[in-house]
Symmetry: C2
Amino acid sequence: MESEQVVTALAALAQPTRLAIFRLLVVCGPQGMAAGQLAEKLDVSPANMSFHFNKLCHAGLVVSRQDGRFVYYAANFAAMNGMLAFLTENCCEGNACAMPVKKC
Amino acid sequence: MESEQVVTALAALAQPTRLAIFRLLVVCGPQGMAAGQLAEKLDVSPANMSFHFNKLCHAGLVVSRQDGRFVYYAANFAAMNGMLAFLTENCCEGNACAMPVKKC
DNA sequence: TCAATTATTAAACAATTATTAAAATGACAG
DNA sequence: CTGTCATTTTAATAATTGTTTAATAATTGA
């Protein structure tokens, strides 16, 4: 994963509404949740949600799929993993590591 | 760790210069690196570096300590871990997990 | 003390961002 | 088709952000 992509992904998550969206989607797993349902849960206007979905998708952290009238959004776990790996790369020059990331 | 803090931390990392600073500091480990040395390595003006250090420190991701004329900056691994944990919390509702974060 | 070095602060500006309201698209049921 | 529901797009505005330059601290050695 490249630095520029990571900056985009971090920027996508660095906003309260989008962080909330992403966390909900993380809990949902690969099946995701419909746009309207997310909007209602988070009490955000549809237009504003669309703006934020766009940022998250563009950053690659979220994917969408249409199902009838609904659009489902889901977390892209691979992208997330790539970002986390980038952030923790080569920590402590390989010495006793100070960043023992949790195992899921 | 609270959502607001996490947003601040993500925003701190969501900028090319600051991401580069942080990654260098991750490699350095707890001893850190002097401000001027970082500025030179990244080819960024001291004033601009100071601005970015400020953001990183305020976000809790970096700590500073004075040593003579020099100010050393170092990554705060605990804060980083807190942020990563927050992002991966409750993934996939506990089912077969799609976000197996790397073990360091 | 004086001058040199290291780093921070302040002010100004251009660029980006989030939010809102209104209009427009796309999908489906009747 | 027509109307309705779900979502997106557009345009406008307020707020935040990154960079530069110049000025200001803090530390040290001569």
